[in-house]
Symmetry: C2
Amino acid sequence: MSVTRIHIKRNSDTFELRRCQIFTEILNLYIQTAAPVGSRTIARRLRNSLSPATIRNIMADLEELGYIEHPYTSAGRVPTDQGYRYYVNALMQQSHLTEDEEETIRAAHERHCTELEEIIERASRLLSEVSNQAALVLFSGVSRDIFKRIALIPLDSGSNRLLVVFVSASGMVRNYKVELPEPIEDIQMERLTRLLNQELEGLPLAQIEYHLKRRMMMEQGSLYYNLFKQALAIIKATILTSKEERLWLEGTSRILEQPEFKEVTRTRALLRLLEEKEPLLELLRQDLEQDQRCRIYIGSEMGNEAMKWYSLVTRSYKIGDRVIGTVGILGPTRMEYSHSVALVDRMAGLLGEVISQMGEL
Amino acid sequence: MSVTRIHIKRNSDTFELRRCQIFTEILNLYIQTAAPVGSRTIARRLRNSLSPATIRNIMADLEELGYIEHPYTSAGRVPTDQGYRYYVNALMQQSHLTEDEEETIRAAHERHCTELEEIIERASRLLSEVSNQAALVLFSGVSRDIFKRIALIPLDSGSNRLLVVFVSASGMVRNYKVELPEPIEDIQMERLTRLLNQELEGLPLAQIEYHLKRRMMMEQGSLYYNLFKQALAIIKATILTSKEERLWLEGTSRILEQPEFKEVTRTRALLRLLEEKEPLLELLRQDLEQDQRCRIYIGSEMGNEAMKWYSLVTRSYKIGDRVIGTVGILGPTRMEYSHSVALVDRMAGLLGEVISQMGEL
DNA sequence: TTTTAGCACTCAATTTAGTTGAGTGCTAAT
DNA sequence: ATTAGCACTCAACTAAATTGAGTGCTAAAA
């Protein structure tokens, strides 16, 4: 009673292998049916090469390892988050898209379009449709984008209201309205525009401030000093202040189509959370830092009670080697991870490509 | 058995009045509790001035009129869509916002901001929070907006790619990328810009095409002819092609908090529909045509199976007397219509105001 | 040592039957 | 025109019984 007997001494390779096989079987069945899996079912699936009793023993082992668990004494087994993690890390095999899926994706990308936002919205819709889960796309391009061109447009002649139009290398266009402390002459404005475009072209946004400050120092005392000062002020008030992060979330209603939806409270909590967006953003921002392959967050790993029953598969997408955002699929922990990974990979690749092309134009 | 006896001959004013009173009572009770209302409950609410039996008779009348119905033989009564309609048209009294609500709304509008989209997003969130229902805001400003200013920015020097920046009177800024059939010189472009700004300032977008064509005719043979031709081409490729309708939808998860949510299929169907957006848009577009006070669509009136159990309260908002969009609340048919109307009215007024101010700046 | 058959046991889920109570419609008395 | 009274209906709840998929353990077989 007091000593927990750990009897997984049968550690030869064959046993190890068989355990994995049975675990995968449980996992797959559970993914398909959403119902706890029992020993007899597994036995049948293995064409009775092992008896239910044996499988029960192995299941006991798996439970001790923390990969599966009992909802109650006499129910079948259900994978734990730890189990999914093990599967994802060690057992999962690469999966490929079906021809249908390829076709759908290709068809959707046939119509070209020039609006970045439209491209992203479509991509998120597409991903949601093909995966039949909720899909998300984060665009956080601006902050890691590159300066291409700026234009200053007076909003009222003679006034001090200014429209600043900014075009980034990735083709994104942004507008900012600014109010200057005092009216600015047309000639001065033209100079300013020319200066900014000459100085900043090709510069990553992160370096702009530093660069302008340095140049300002250099020009100290010269005619240009004031110009640089003004330029810096404008840039600071516009491009640098805006944290242009935007999240698209599509197909949340598909979450209601899963059987786990029956648990009303779970679903409600999740949808609430998704509407807030901030918690998700925090998670996604991590992906921006490193350029890795797919990231998978399983249930409790997301560190949020409301997301306990859901998993997230994400991958960053990029222009060249600059990460500019993240795409992802959100579904119940009981999801087909390999398939989701394949989809997310494809979407991330495609989205990067399409946006790159757009920027080049 | 064969002849339906209609015994609503008691048509004197007192009876009429009493019927209304009881109907309102049923309606209010049902709105509060979401449970069918029985004759005894009503009798108690009327301090037993009438016996349950009498009330049953009246209820039978109301049922014959189509205002209430039985879910099953021995259940209480539930208002029908027709009943809600009657209430809304004839019985509903104007309601005012509570101080709390006023306070919340005012607080939210304290922080000024310059981005149109941000203002609208905030407004929809706010409306959803205060009403505790799903809220929506349609912005369809552009098509009925007024020209203010245009700017042309070459994207690559010497190339034929152009960024067109357009500012409308309501303060909205739009960008379009266009590809010209042949490169355009800087001087020519400046002329073009000046021409467009001079010709079109203050013109409703709907009249732009006609105006330019007419001017083109007038200048036939003159030096300006080609300029006008080019101008028209650009305008057509940008401002006039874009149908810049955008719908914000916030707080859909609040729908899950209503008791009618138990009917899983209903909710699922609704959320699905809301994600598509198009059906809602169609409905909302109608409001743009006339400037009326609040519009109320009740359940089946929306002509969509999935929305059968929900109602929509909308009102257009405007700049001056130009309608530029619609705000609305979406909730179960069993909603507090008068309160929703008050909220929607306030939001529509406020939103119009805020956007107007923004445009003036 | 591993596998399996057998058995007692558990427990959610389903079924069944019975009870309750809010509500109705009708009729006859007030 | 109103009400009291009565028979009837039916969802919702309760409690008990049944079912069956599943378990763990043990002892025998391989």
